[in-house]
């Protein structure tokens, strides 16, 4: 029963307006409170930003840096509000996490030219796992606005001189435009893709480079995909609903074209 309800909840969230995922998630969990933990862990929502009190730098909040009601800053490794015995990575994995945060800071500056990023790692029995978060918002004019949230969750499983990486990436992209000639337009959504790869590992530094390259390739692929769906597919569907050209003329042109081909074949 619970499994069927969980699947129904995910199906429903895949159908209802993605702009309202947060409210709809709350509504579902008020109907079926037992689903709360599982849904929070599997439904991606736009990331919230918090300022690290110790370093004065912004970081992103997600289920992976949460312990109870507190969130761990990747810059200070401390929880806000402070808690005793909050779950932190082992010393080795924390070192990797610090290196990854510095590397992805360069990546964020190069690709996003602003925005906010955070990387969180945690220990696994046979390796480690992590999440790379990137967020950017734009309001280039009063006419249009946009928000991008990237959530890359990966597991790195140790193998001899190699590591097996499994990456699940979600991008939440929200765009809106408003003007007197256009009225209101909202183009919102999220897409998820997965990839697995075995990559050589010489030292811990290899992990940062391997994860970096996987995320970089995935984001390029997903950016192209989003561009295709948001601006290609959506426009095509509108064109299938309503034809700008007169359908009787289009049909006449097609008939003429067919006749021409037939006459050439004769």
């Amino acid at each position: 029963m619970a499994d069927a309800q969980f699947d129904s909840a995910l199906d429903l969230l895949r159908r209802l307006n993605p702009r309202d995922t947060k409210q709809n998630l709350q509504a579902i969990t008020s109907l079926v409170p037992d689903l709360t933990e599982d849904l929070l862990a599997s439904v991606d929502q736009p990331l919230e930003v918090r300022r690290c009190a110790k370093t004065n730098r912004d970081y992103l909040l997600c289920d992976y840096n949460r312990d109870g009601d507190s969130y761990r800053s990747p810059w200070s490794n401390e929880f806000d509000p402070p808690i005793e015995d909050g779950t932190v990575p082992s010393e080795r994995v924390r070192k990797l996490e610090v290196a990854a945060n510095e590397a992805f800071d360069v990546y964020r500056e190069l690709y996003y030219e602003g925005g906010t990023g955070s990387v969180y790692f945690w220990d696994l029995d046979d390796g480690f796992a992590g999440v790379v978060l990137l967020k950017k918002g734009v309001t280039p004019g009063s006419k249009s606005s946009g928000a991008w949230d990237s959530i890359h969750v990966f597991e790195a499983t140790d193998r001899a001189r190699m590591s097996h990486y499994k990456l699940t990436s979600t991008v939440i992209l929200h765009l809106a435009s408003e003007s007197s000639s256009l009225g209101e337009l909202d183009l919102s959504g999220n897409m998820t893709r997965q990839v697995e790869a075995d990559l050589p590992v010489e030292s811990d530094a290899s992990h940062v480079a391997n994860v970096g390259r996987l995320v970089e390739d995935m984001e390029l692929k997903m950016r192209n995909l989003l561009q295709e769906v948001y601006f290609g597919k959506a426009k095509d569907v509108v064109g299938e609903l309503r034809s700008l050209a007169s359908l009787s003329e289009t049909n006449r042109d097609r008939a003429t074209h067919r006749e021409m081909i037939m006459s050439m074949q004769r």
Binding site: L12, P18, K95, A99, S145, V237, L247
Partner: protein, 273 residues
């Protein structure tokens, strides 16, 4: 705190084009401990059907007719002017039954019939598949026109709906007011929705059906062109401003250098900028 009925109603009314049955199945599963929920949210189904301009095949007919707030009779039945039929409509199953002959009683009957004809001609020129209707409204002092075009492709994970609703008072000089709404849903390995609303206000010089429909046709064409331009502007503007396709150097990140340079330092943690 919203009740179960409030929540279930909002889910029904939020169903994307062509996916009402899927949303109903999900709502049923999530409210399995209370089987009365679906029947107690009947008003939400009615609002959904009237606002989304649900279409239904009348028994024995091939064409679909529209459900809207404008063609509802006092006893809850609906009527179609073109086929002179009234019918029962089950809002939950979206099925019509008990069709009977219905004669339109309106002092604007001639105008309504010529609008229907002109709207039908316009519709067949620009909508590969659509349903429409023209009805008296506001105590027979005004006329309402509705048009809905649906394309459902669930096997390819997309569905779309184009709706327009117009009203104008029947008087010597008049203004057509209304709105055009486009909804597209794409849900292959994700969930992407386009929702647009464009308010319409056009003054019409004369009450001839041809001139009303030609002004409406022009407004719909202008809107589709504006919408197509908006896609290009968002792609070139907001989308590009969020994330570059490649860094300004046109080079991908040299992760060994980025990582190596940084890893060479003491990375004991807790460093700010």
């Amino acid at each position: 705190m919203p009740t179960t009925v409030d929540i279930a109603s909002s889910f029904i009314e939020g169903a994307p084009p062509g996916e009402l049955a899927d949303v109903v199945a999900d709502v049923k599963a999530l409210t399995a401990d209370d089987p009365s929920v679906i029947s107690s949210i009947a008003p939400a189904f009615q609002r959904y059907n009237e606002q989304q301009l649900a279409t239904v095949k009348l028994p024995g007919a091939s064409q679909e007719v529209v459900i809207s707030e404008f063609n509802k009779l006092d006893d809850g039945r609906y009527f179609d002017v073109e086929s002179s039929t009234s019918f029962d409509f089950d809002h939950v199953t979206q099925k019509a039954s008990n069709a009977q002959s219905y004669v339109l009683e309106s002092k604007n009957e001639d105008l309504i019939k010529s609008l229907l004809k002109a709207l039908g001609k316009h519709a067949s020129e620009h909508y590969p598949s659509c349903s429409y209707g023209v009805y008296p409204t506001e105590n027979d002092s005004a006329v309402a026109m509705v048009l809905v075009a649906n394309r459902y492709s669930p096997n390819n994970f997309w569905n779309g709906r184009f709706r327009s609703v117009y009203q104008f008072p029947v008087s010597s000089s008049s203004t057509v007011t209304g709105k055009i709404q486009v909804d597209v849903h794409y849900y292959e390995d994700g969930n992407v929705a386009l929702n647009t609303t464009k308010p319409i206000s056009i003054s019409i010089p004369s009450l001839s059906a041809e001139s009303v429909i030609s002004r409406i046709a022009a407004a719909e064409r202008d809107y589709q062109e504006d919408l197509n331009r908006a896609f290009v502007q968002l792609a070139d503007g907001a989308f590009k401003g969020l994330r570059r396709q490649l860094p300004i150097t046109r080079q991908k990140v040299e992760w060994e250098k980025v990582g190596g340079y940084r890893l060479g330092q003491d990375i004991s943690g807790g460093k700010g900028r």
